[in-house]
Point group: C2
Chain length 382, copies 2
Amino acid sequence: MVECTSIKMSDRRRLQPLEPGFSMMRTLTVDLGDRSYPIYIGADLLSQSNLYRPHIRGKQVCIVTNETIAPLYLEQVKQGLEGYQVDEVVLPDGEQFKNLDTLNLIFDKLLEKRHNRTTTLIALGGGVVGDMTGFAAASYQRGVDFIQIPTTLLSQVDSSVGGKTGVNHALGKNMIGAFHQPRCVLADTGVLSSLPARELAAGIAEVVKYGLIADAPFMDWLEANMDALVAKDGEALAYAVERSCQNKADVVAKDEREGGIRAILNLGHTFGHAIETAMGYGEWLHGEAVATGMVMAADLSQRLGWLNKADVERVEKLLLRAALPVKAPTAVTEEDFLSLMAVDKKVLDGQLRLVLMKAVGEAVVTSDFPVETLKETIAASY
Amino acid sequence: MVECTSIKMSDRRRLQPLEPGFSMMRTLTVDLGDRSYPIYIGADLLSQSNLYRPHIRGKQVCIVTNETIAPLYLEQVKQGLEGYQVDEVVLPDGEQFKNLDTLNLIFDKLLEKRHNRTTTLIALGGGVVGDMTGFAAASYQRGVDFIQIPTTLLSQVDSSVGGKTGVNHALGKNMIGAFHQPRCVLADTGVLSSLPARELAAGIAEVVKYGLIADAPFMDWLEANMDALVAKDGEALAYAVERSCQNKADVVAKDEREGGIRAILNLGHTFGHAIETAMGYGEWLHGEAVATGMVMAADLSQRLGWLNKADVERVEKLLLRAALPVKAPTAVTEEDFLSLMAVDKKVLDGQLRLVLMKAVGEAVVTSDFPVETLKETIAASY
């Protein structure tokens, strides 16, 4: 029997309501004992190197970024690092490059430039850059420091916080990696102005996730402010990033290595990973796959009698307002889903565990569902 | 200024003298809190699966071994694993295959056979198999269990204990890896009967290392028993493995992640890594390079006035009795040494730290030596 675990926003400190003058920086802390670290959130933080310089312990820095982000922000970050040995690695852009071969480009640079154990890597980019840089930092000389400067909404609210790092394998997403916490996270909401609409939407999917799993009041806020988010309203984005990071930080502080409760953060991800893997990395954005996956999780929850149909429609409607997909691609067959979900990390001793919802704002991790009902959900997902 | 640290056997519990009936199994413990684990030492342990089965938490096992070891011992280990899903990966044999590409063969198998987070990897082989299996376990789905069954003297006394795992990079040895402790270590001294003489000697180099760094009485024992070791006398080998593992376990328990004292275990390794890297992996065995490296460390210690010439000769003489090399290969130039040593992990902020000896049985980690004296040692090493 697998335990059901859930967490509610009411268990935790409520966030303060949005204040005037929010463009000021706010700092959250991920509370992990001697691995605790701050998340700085605000506009125009990229130019404030005084925020992250104190987290660099040695004299060497290696900035890892990609071909899309480098022309936009690399020089600005480098300017803030006067006095250090600064090297840079510019990776190709895209999930299809998140593999061991690309990872090795980072090691090549670190070794060519003789970086030692006191070096600090800086991940400047989205989730792919952050995950690979984090894993490179976890593995280089058995572990060096790194700093996250996420440049997409998705990475600001999700992958840059919590220490999950890694690369994909042809047979599964994020199958190779490590838990390795950054020294700090710098979420500059100003850089989101350059983010393509499709990527913004992919980030909004993960923002909605926090509402669905543990924060019903945030769901209400999202329904009231979705248009502002899609229009890239600065204050709305900053609040969404802060509240998402607070939700994530609270869960991670309780369960750093995903022994239990942290798994609720995977709402929609088991379905979503199946879509991403079957379509080939890079076809669907991660957040798009998660959006459809969350609708599938809601559908299954409804079939189990936990949600009602109006709840499922509410989820779909909110995601559609962000132009996110809520239907599975027909190219991913029912057999694909069942086969790929069985190798997802959420399988324990052959038993598929899924994150489902007891209510909007209350996720549970459970294997307590008939396979037939799961098949119904998949069949209805197209 | 880098601190000098040293440890002496007198600080620690003395091992009991060799008893009659030593062929009985002995158990040591590596004391690391909730990551503590036992080392079982004795003859014919491979057939005693009751020793390691309790350390397997799930229902899946993947044995990783190589083409040399598989025909000798794979079936025996598989027979002990009835009731589990048992898969196997047979890697090519040799240090030149200790890289990310070969590592990926392990991930391929784990994913093809749908191993989940509760799987246990078993490393059946020498140090290369152990280091790669350990790193695969550290990285697969961000960390699964593994068990070490070392089949060489070198891996029994060194690499299988302490949780250092990893692979090589073309520009440096063990540059990519993780600290990941095994669930248990099974050191079957019986399997050493099949070990080629050259590999036995390579293991003896690491055994001598423990005497040099912290255990002067063990040096005396080694001088009295070197012929028995070289002749593969069972009781002598078992005692050497036990005393070496005890020395290593004591150091690792004090400093798991090599923040300080653990670095003394690298005596001879900075010189040795330079030799291995310059020659190309696989030309010199690791233990052979360490043997020459220890002589170079002794030479430098003597030039600094810490050892006398008789001490250096004593080290050389003992290693020569095991047919180990004590001179650097002329193919590795002085420039090679200096260049390669500067990218060794023991460099902190540009300052080369070396493990040297204040006395036989008392190693120190220090950067307090003139580069000119280091050059003299290199020049005299051929």
